[in-house]
Symmetry: C2
Subunit: 615 residues, 2 copies
C-alpha cells in the first residue's frame, strides 16, 4: 500500500486522501465536487480552473497556454492537468463546478441551475384577533394572510385551537395550496425533505433543507429485498409467489427506508415531523413494490406496468413515517424495464438540453440506456446484473469505507481504498479498473479467461505474476491484498467467476447501446456526448470503462463523462422544484420505449458483445 496524500477543497472544506499522481479533477470528484470539463479533460477548454493555495505542483504547458503569468503566480491551474504530489489545498470557484451549486442537476453545456422552488412553503403569521366589528372566521383570517388554501377536516379542527392558544400567531405549512399543518411559534427554519434512489441492490437517501437546497446528509444501505432474489425478475416472481409476499417485500423496503430516515435525522439532529416531502426514483419493479402495486404483469409478456404517470400520494399511504401531512412523489415510468430512475437521470443531466446526439447509460442491476437525438428520446433496458454494485462478486462491495475504488498496475498493483484503510473488498469502479488492467497485461484474455500461473505471458512483471493463484481444484484467482480483514476469511481477490460476471454485464450494456443506436438509425460516431451514471463508487475511469467494453469501440474518450448517481440527483431536483418534477413528467411522456428483445439482430448483437474488446 502506497502512502496517500491529503487534498483539501475550499470553500467546501472537504478533504480526501489520494495516491500520488492523481489529478485535482479526480480528487475533487472523490470529494463530491464535479468540475467542468467540456473538453473531456484534454487541457484545452480552460473551464476547470482552480486555485492551488498550498501544494507543490508546477504549471504545465496547458496552464501556461490558458493563464496569464500573474494568474499562474496566484496559483491558478487547470484541475484536469494538475497532478497531486504533496499535501495540497485547492480553492474551487463556483464557476468551475459542473452546474454550479447544484452541479449534478445541470449539464455543463447549459451551466444553469434549476430554481429552488419546492412545493412546501412555510409562512409565519401574526393575525389580528376577531372582534364584533371584524368577525371573519378563523380560517378566513388565515386565508387573508397566506392566500387561498385547501385543508383536511382534521387540520381545520386543529387550526382554530392552535391559533387561539398562541395569540392568533403561528406558522402555516403549505404544500402547493394545501395547508398541511399549522405549527405554534415561528418554525420556518425547520423545513426538510428526503430524496431516495431505490435500486434493486442499493438504496441511497439524502436529507435536504427545502429552503436552501443544502444537502444535510446522505445514507446508503443494501436493499433488504436482496433476500428475495438479486435481480428484478426474481423479485417479480417472489411477489407473486404467495398471498402476502408483495406486502412482505414492500414492508422490508419501507422499514429500511424508515431506518435510513432515522439515521439522516439523527445525523442532522432534526425531527422526522419536520420532513414535509419525499421523492423516490427507482426502476419500474422497485416503484411498483414501494407502492404496493403487484409487479406480476411485468414478469410475463408484454411486460406492461400498471401505471406510468408520476404519483403524488400521502407519504403515510406509502408507510413512510415523516410528517403526517407530507406528500411523497414517485417518479413516472417509461416502460416495464425502464423506470423512474431513468426519468430522474434524464432530468438530472438535462439530456433534453444537449443539442445533437447524447447518450445516457445508467448502470445498476439493470442498465438503462437513453439516446437523445434532435429532441427525440429512445430508452431501453439491458440486464447488467449486480456486479457493478458489488453483488455476485466474491469480494464485491458497495463504494463505502474499505472498498478498493481504483486499481492501477505498474510493476505491481497500486490501490486506492475509500477511507484510506486496509481493503475489505472491491466496488464497481475498482472492478472496472482491475479487469481493464488484467486485460491490458494479458492475465485475462479477450474471451474472459483468466490464465493459470503457468500460462502467463513472459513479459508480465513478477510481482503481478505472483498474484495469480490456482487453488487445489485449479480455480484461478488474482489476489489484490493479503492484508486487512479481506472478504470473509480469504484475501481480497478476483476470481474467474467474477470476470465472467463483469464480462456478461459490460457486454449486455454494450450490446444495448449498439442496438438502440441502430434503432435510431445512428452510429457511435454520431454521439456528441456519452454520460455514464451509476453508483460505482466516487469516480469511474473512462479508459477503463472503454477497455472492458462497457461502451462500444470508436467513442472519443473526451466525449465520455461520469455523472454519478443521477437517479438520486433527479429525485433531489424533484423534491426542490415543482418545475423540475413537471419537466420529468414531460420527458417521461416523450420517450420512445424500445424493447430490445423484439429487434432484429438482438441475438447476434448480444453474442458479439460477450467477449471483451481486443485492444
Amino acid at each position: 500500500m502506497e502512502t496517500q496524500i491529503r487534498v483539501t477543497f475550499q470553500p467546501h472544506g472537504r478533504s480526501v486522501s489520494v495516491l500520488s499522481g492523481t489529478t485535482i479533477l479526480e480528487a475533487a470528484a472523490r470529494a463530491g465536487l464535479v468540475i467542468e470539463t467540456p473538453c473531456g479533460g484534454a487541457g484545452t477548454c480552460g473551464k476547470c480552473r482552480v486555485r492551488v493555495m498550498q501544494g507543490c505542483g508546477a504549471a504545465t504547458a496547458s496552464d501556461e497556454r490558458v493563464f496569464s503569468s500573474e494568474e499562474l503566480r496566484e496559483g491558478w491551474r487547470l484541475a484536469c492537468r494538475t497532478v497531486i504530489a504533496c499535501e495540497t489545498v485547492v480553492v474551487v470557484p463556483l464557476a468551475s463546478l459542473f452546474g454550479g451549486e447544484h452541479q449534478i442537476l445541470a449539464t455543463s453545456d447549459s451551466g444553469t441551475t434549476p430554481e429552488i422552488l419546492p412545493d412546501i412553503r412555510k409562512i409565519h403569521v401574526a393575525l389580528a384577533p376577531p372582534t364584533l366589528i371584524d368577525d371573519a372566521p378563523d380560517l378566513l383570517r388565515l386565508e387573508h394572510a397566506i392566500g387561498p388554501f385547501k385543508a383536511s377536516l382534521s387540520l381545520i379542527r386543529h387550526v382554530s385551537a392552535t391559533l387561539r392558544a398562541n395569540g392568533f400567531a403561528g406558522t402555516a405549512v403549505l404544500a402547493n395550496h394545501h395547508l398541511i399543518d399549522f405549527e405554534a411559534g415561528d418554525t420556518r427554519e425547520r423545513c426538510f425533505g428526503v430524496a431516495f434512489d431505490i435500486g434493486t441492490t442499493t438504496l441511497v437517501g439524502t436529507l435536504l433543507n427545502l429552503c436552501t437546497g443544502d444537502k444535510l446528509g446522505v445514507v446508503s444501505r443494501m436493499n433488504p429485498q436482496v433476500s428475495f432474489g438479486d435481480d428484478v425478475l426474481s423479485r417479480i416472481h417472489h411477489a407473486a409467489s404467495c398471498g402476502n409476499c408483495l406486502d412482505e417485500m414492500r414492508l422490508a423496503l419501507t422499514n429500511e427506508v424508515s431506518g435510513m430516515i432515522d439515521a439522516l435525522c439523527a445525523g442532522a439532529t432534526i425531527s422526522r415531523e419536520n420532513i414535509y416531502a419525499a421523492a423516490f426514483a427507482g426502476n419500474t419493479t422497485m416503484e411498483h413494490i414501494l407502492c404496493g402495486l403487484n409487479p406480476a404483469q411485468m414478469g410475463e409478456t408484454p411486460f406492461v406496468p400498471m401505471h406510468a404517470r408520476g404519483l403524488l400520494v400521502p407519504a403515510s399511504e406509502l408507510g413512510i413515517p415523516i410528517h403526517h401531512g407530507a406528500q411523497a412523489y414517485v417518479f413516472p415510468i417509461i416502460g416495464g424495464f425502464v423506470g423512474g430512475d431513468t426519468v430522474a437521470g434524464m432530468l438530472a443531466t438535462r439530456i433534453d438540453r444537449h443539442e445533437g446526439t447524447a447518450l445516457l447509460v445508467d448502470i445498476g442491476t439493470n442498465g438503462e440506456i437513453v439516446l437523445s437525438h434532435n429532441g427525440v428520446f429512445y430508452a431501453a433496458s439491458t440486464a447488467a446484473g449486480p456486479a457493478f454494485e458489488g453483488a455476485r462478486i466474491a469480494c464485491g462491495m458497495r463504494g463505502t469505507h474499505g472498498a478498493i475504488e481504483k486499481v492501477v498496475f505498474d510493476d505491481d498493483v497500486r490501490l486506492e481504498v475509500i477511507g484510506n484503510v486496509a481493503p475489505t473488498g472491491i466496488c464497481g469502479s475498482g472492478l472496472i479498473d482491475l479487469i481493464s488492467e488484467l486485460l491490458a497485461c494479458g492475465i485475462v484474455t479477450p474471451e474472459g479467461q483468466m490464465l493459470a500461473p503457468d500460462e502467463l505471458p513472459g513479459t508480465l512483471a513478477p510481482a503481478l505474476a505472483r498474484r495469480v493463484r490456482a487453488d487445489e481444484n485449479g480455480s484461478i484467482s488474482f489476489v489484490l491484498s493479503e492484508a486487512g480483514a479481506g472478504c470473509g476469511s480469504s484475501p481480497v481477490a478476483l476470481t474467474q467467476r467474477d470476470v465472467r460476471e463483469v464480462q456478461l454485464g459490460s457486454g449486455a450494456v454494450r450490446a444495448g447501446i449498439i442496438l438502440l443506436l441502430r434503432q435510431a438509425g445512428l452510429d457511435v460516431s454520431d454521439l456528441g456526448i456519452v454520460l455514464i451514471a451509476g453508483g460505482f463508487g466516487n469516480f469511474i475511469r473512462r479508459s477503463s470503462a472503454q477497455r472492458i467494453g462497457l461502451l462500444p469501440g470508436g467513442i472519443d474518450h473526451t466525449r465520455i463523462r461520469y455523472v454519478g448517481n443521477v437517479s438520486l440527483a433527479g429525485a433531489q431536483a424533484a423534491l426542490l422544484s415543482g418545475d423540475a418534477r413537471r419537466l420529468g413528467e414531460d420527458l417521461a411522456r416523450r420517450v420512445k420505449h424500445v424493447e430490445l428483445s423484439t429487434m432484429d439482430g438482438f441475438q447476434d448483437a448480444f453474442a458479439d458483445a460477450m467477449f471483451f474488446p481486443r485492444s
Copy 2:
C-alpha cells in the same frame, strides 16, 4: 271533518285531496308543484294557466279576460282563480311551473333551469389489451379513453386487477378529474347522490339520480340532537360541556343521517355503494358539529366560526357511509348564526337575479333573513324558536301524515290534514293559520292573550266559542279536534303557552326584517319581492303570515311568495352542478353579515314586535 275532494295533476300523475273551495294553485302546491304567479295570484298576469280536463269549475271573469273562447272550451283556466268543487283532473304545462322542471331552483323572473352537470361522471370503457407493440401501461390505456385523472394508490392497486379480470373493460367513476372507482361491467345507470338539510330541529334528505336529476325519494326525521337542547345555543354549550360531548353529538347526527340514507336506498332499491356524492346545508352550528369542529367559540362574543368556505371532504371523514371514494360537500358559512342553509337558500332562489330589492326569510329554529338590494346582500339571524317546526307547541308536529296544515274559520273550524286522516297534531302552516283566525275573531288579543270562555266577544259563532275551554287551573285552550288519536291523551288543542311561543317567534322574525331593512337604509315599501322559506308544511297562506306579524305591515301580499325548503333545494342544486356550488361560494363571499344585537334600536325593535299586529 268535511269531505275532501281528489285532484290529480298531469303529466306528473300526482293526486292530493283538498277541501272544497281550495284553488287549483293551492292544491298544486300540496302536490309539490309550484305554479308561476308573478301577479301574486291576483288573476291578472295570466301566467298560471292550466287545463282542466275533468271537473266542474265554471270560467271566472279573470279567465274570460285572459283566454279565448276556444281556449275556455278546451278547459284552460287560471290556477289562482279556479276553485275546486268536485273531483278534478288538471294538466299543468311546463311553462306554468315556477322555474320549469327544477322549479324550486330558479326564480319565476328568470325561468331558467340550472344545468345538470354533477362532478360525478361514469364512463364505460372497452380497451384494447396490451401487446409487445402496443405496450402502454394499464392506467395510460385508461387515460387515453377517459382523459387525464388522479387516483389514490389503493385504487391504482385495484384498477389493473379489475381490468384484467374483465377483458380490459369496465366503468370508470370520476369525481371531477379524480378516479374514485373502476367497476366491473357497465354500471352507468347506477349513479346517485344524497342532499341533506341539517336543521336544528328537523333533518330532511333526498336521493337524486345524478344523471337525470330525478328525485328518487325524500325522508325527514327529527334531529336526534334535540335531546341535548332544542336551540343552537344549548347545543353549543353541550358540545363544550365534556370531553367527548362534541363527538357524541356528531355521532348522533351522522347515525341518523346514515339511517335516513338506508331508508332512501331501501325505498329506491339501490345500494349505498352507488351513492357517489353528498351535499349538506345547515346552520353554522349544525355544520360545525357535522364536521366535528367545536362550536364553542360561537357561544361567546364575537361569535366567530372556525371556517367559512365550503368544504369538499371525503364522505368517510364525515362518517357518512356511502361509496368509499365519495366526496361530501358542506355549504359555505356567512357568520356565526347565518350558515350554509342560508347560502343554499340564496342559491335555490337565485336571489342574485332579482332586480331591485328582494327579501328571503327562511324560518327554522333560527330565522335567517337575506336582503338583496341592487347586487348587495345583507344577512342576519334572529331566534324564531322551534314553534314553526312543531316543537315547544303542546300538539305541535312536523308537516307529515296526520298534521293539521290548514285552518279556516267560518261558523266553525275547517281543517285540512295531511293524508286526509284524523289529526294527530298541528304543523307550522296550520299554526300560522290558526293564530291568524283566532286573532281575526277576537279569541286571541293583539297582546297575545287567549280570552277565557266568559270573556269572548258576543259576535263569535257559537261553535267556535264552544271550542274555548278553561281547565281546573284556569288555563285556557282552543280545541281543534276531539276525534282521532290527538296529541298524547288530550284532544288536539292550542294552549295559551303555544300562542306565546308563536308570538315570540313571529315577533323576532318581524323585528329582524325591520332592523335589516334599516341597516340597508330601506323601507318595506322598497321590497319588490318577499320569499318565505321553511319547512312549515306544504304551503303557507300569505294572509295568515301577515296577520300574525311574521312580516312587517305594509307589504303588498302579491309580493309575497312561499318557496318551501330552499336549504334542501340548494343542497340538491349543489349536488347536481359544480357551477351551482361555485355560485353558492360566490354568493356567500358577497354577503355582508349583520349582527343585529349590536345595532342601535335593537332593543326597541324587538320590544315593538312582541305584540301581534292590530289589523
